[in-house]
């Protein structure tokens, strides 16, 4: 490639270079280092590090903690994201069909989403506290008896799902509402003239027109949800008895508490592999026809 085009490409690269170099040094290099660490038996508590090939990966895959954390993560992701999508979509439809909703209502709904995650964990720890929390109190008044939300394995999982749904439903809502507002008005008017019922309208017109935006919203949500850490770390620390021990919490404990760097790195790469496989399917398609 020569001539003006090549020169323009070179100029463009100069603009990209500072950010590219920065990302390489600060993110790519540590990840490569981590890849190296995952092939050794590196522990910060032991001075000797030697190359062990794929042994660490093998021990991760045969490690029951990794398997159970993976299961916890998948249950959490599927339950939380489905609820967030359903509630968010219902809310978006409800807001869309209002003639005028005040922009303040949208701004207010954004607050749970932007709230500092450690504070979110704190809020739910307060509300779910078995001695003085308002949710156990309400449950008691409604005749559910004394529920120990954070001490019972199943209820603890329900708790982190409720917290996540509260925090992230606004994300789905805002994206889907933006999508609904971008739909051509004429389609709906024409359908109304045809006498279509609103449910048929939803299934045959709204959903197909929204499919790309729904895919974008879900793809981004999955990506963020896999990294969930702060809120759950504050609320349950993975307990009781590892019932809410997301994969990120397991990696944090192995790497930064037990200082088993090799094991934590190998786990990170296995997670990364899954994320990449997922995103290769979804994102390339989702972003390309933007």
């Amino acid at each position: 490639m020569k001539g003006p085009n090549a020169r323009a490409a070179r100029q463009g690269l100069w603009f990209f270079l500072p950010a590219g170099v920065f990302l390489t040094v600060i993110l790519v290099y540590p990840m490569l280092y981590s890849l190296y660490a995952s092939l050794t038996n590196m522990r910060l508590t032991s001075p000797i590090t030697r190359f062990v090939g794929l042994d660490t990966y093998w021990s991760v895959l045969t490690n029951s903690a990794f398997g159970s954390s993976l299961a916890v993560t998948v249950i959490f992701l599927v339950a939380a994201i489905s609820l967030e999508f359903l509630i968010g979509f219902a809310l978006a439809l409800s807001f869309k069909s209002m003639r005028n909703t005040h922009p303040i209502m949208r701004a207010l709904l954004m607050l749970p989403l932007m709230a500092t995650p450690v504070s979110v964990g704190l809020i739910w720890k307060l509300m779910l506290n078995s001695d003085f929390g308002i949710i156990p109190y309400a449950g008691q008044q409604l005749g559910f008896g004394t529920l120990l939300w954070l001490a019972d394995p199943i209820l603890a999982m329900v708790s982190i799902i409720i917290m996540d749904v509260w925090q992230w439903t606004p994300f789905m809502f805002l994206i889907l509402l933006a999508g609904l507002e971008g739909l051509p008005e004429e389609v709906f008017e024409a359908a109304e003239v045809d006498g279509s019922r609103s449910f048929d309208l939803l299934i045959h017109i709204t959903l197909p027109l929204m499919s790309r935006i729904i895919a974008v919203a879900l793809a981004f949500r999955v990506m963020f949800a896999i990294a969930t850490f702060d809120t759950v770390f504050v609320l349950t620390k993975g307990g009781p008895a590892r019932a809410t021990d997301l994969i990120t919490l397991l990696i944090q404990r192995e790497g930064l508490v037990n200082l088993n760097v090799a094991l934590a790195s190998a786990m990170s790469f296995l997670v990364l592999l899954m994320v990449t496989a997922f995103s290769a399917f979804t994102f390339k398609r989702v972003l390309s026809n933007g």
Binding site: A9, Q11, G12, W14, F15, F16, A19, G20, L23, I26, L27, Y29, P30, Y33, S34, S94, F95, S97, R99, P103, M105, A107, L108, P112, M114, A115, T116, V118, L122, I123, W124, L126, M127, F132, I134, Y137, W166, T169, F171, L174, I175, A178, G182, V216, A217, M223, A227, F229, D230, F233, I251, Q252, G255, L256, A264, S268, L272, S279, L287, G290
Partner: protein, 277 residues
């Protein structure tokens, strides 16, 4: 007539339902803020206390005992510096990717997005080791650099989507006027990207303000920003609920002020520019 009245009734009910839902989402925040002003006995009462005499005890406590001013200043320094550095690096990169025939542009864009997909914890473990080796462990600099690295992919993609909407004729006009590429960026693209820059700045500021894991791992003592201090308040034996809540509110205030005043710029940032809001 009757039809019309029925319609307006339905509309009023619909509005009421929507307001109720918004209220439901706001309740946990309100409950926390109320809690920060309740006396210990009201706060720990087994039946929820709705009406109480507010007290500032917990607020005095956190400023007297937890050195909140110091951590607040750390948080402000880290978030402001991260925001400035991120925008400085991201705008030229976005302009380069949006406007120049760089080879493998789509691949680069996808690589940038993949970087964002790394769960931060995966990077924090190796960074913990490497930052000790280069002597950046326990400095505010390390927080600024790492937050910037984690926010940069997002900022590049959002700004790219904004720059792509600026008509190319503007670049051409500036070039005819004798601007070189850098001049085009500075004189034409920068002023027209202001909404995109605001969108990015709000998100980058809030994300680095909220960041907990890096701050909790790579700095200690007086250098910690606010979120690890909240985390710490919760791990003490016997949580000091009042002060913990007051601190939780302190952390949230700037986030809420920014979100509330700039929410109209933010919708597009949620999907990295993939859905125009």
């Amino acid at each position: 007539m009757a039809e019309n009245r029925r319609k307006s009734w339905l509309e009023a009910a619909h509005l009421a339902a929507n307001i109720l839902i918004v209220a439901l989402f706001l309740f946990p925040l309100a409950w926390m803020i109320l809690g920060a002003f309740k006396a210990q006995a009201d706060l720990l009462s087994p039946t929820p206390v709705w009406f109480f005499t507010p007290t500032l005890d917990h607020w005095y406590f956190i400023f007297d005992n937890w050195n909140v001013e110091r951590h607040l200043v750390n948080s402000i320094i880290v978030s402001v510096a991260t925001t400035v550095l991120t925008l400085l690096l991201a705008l030229p990169a976005a302009y380069g990717l949006a406007r120049f025939p760089i080879k493998g542009k789509d691949a680069i864009t996808f690589e940038i997005l993949s970087l964002k997909m790394i769960p931060p914890i995966a990077a924090v473990v190796p960074l913990f080791i490497l930052m000790r080796q280069v002597g950046l462990y326990n400095t505010l600099t390390v927080l600024i650099l790492l937050n910037t690295a984690f926010q940069l992919p997002f900022a590049i993609l959002v700004l790219k989507s904004f720059v792509e909407e600026i008509p190319r004729e503007i670049d051409e006009a500036a070039t005819v006027d004798g601007c070189r590429p850098f001049g085009v960026l500075w004189r034409a693209i920068l002023p027209l990207s202001v909404p995109g820059l605001i969108c990015c700045a709000v998100f980058v500021f809030i994300f680095s303000w909220n960041e907990f894991m890096i701050a909790n791992t790579l700095v200690g003592g007086d250098l910690r920003p606010l979120p690890p201090i909240v985390g710490l308040a919760l791990t003490h034996r016997g949580i000091l609920w009042g002060p913990a809540l007051a601190l939780g509110v302190v952390v949230l205030l700037p986030v809420f002020a920014l979100t509330f005043s700039l929410s109209r710029y933010m919708a597009r940032g949620l999907t990295f520019g993939a859905v125009k809001g």
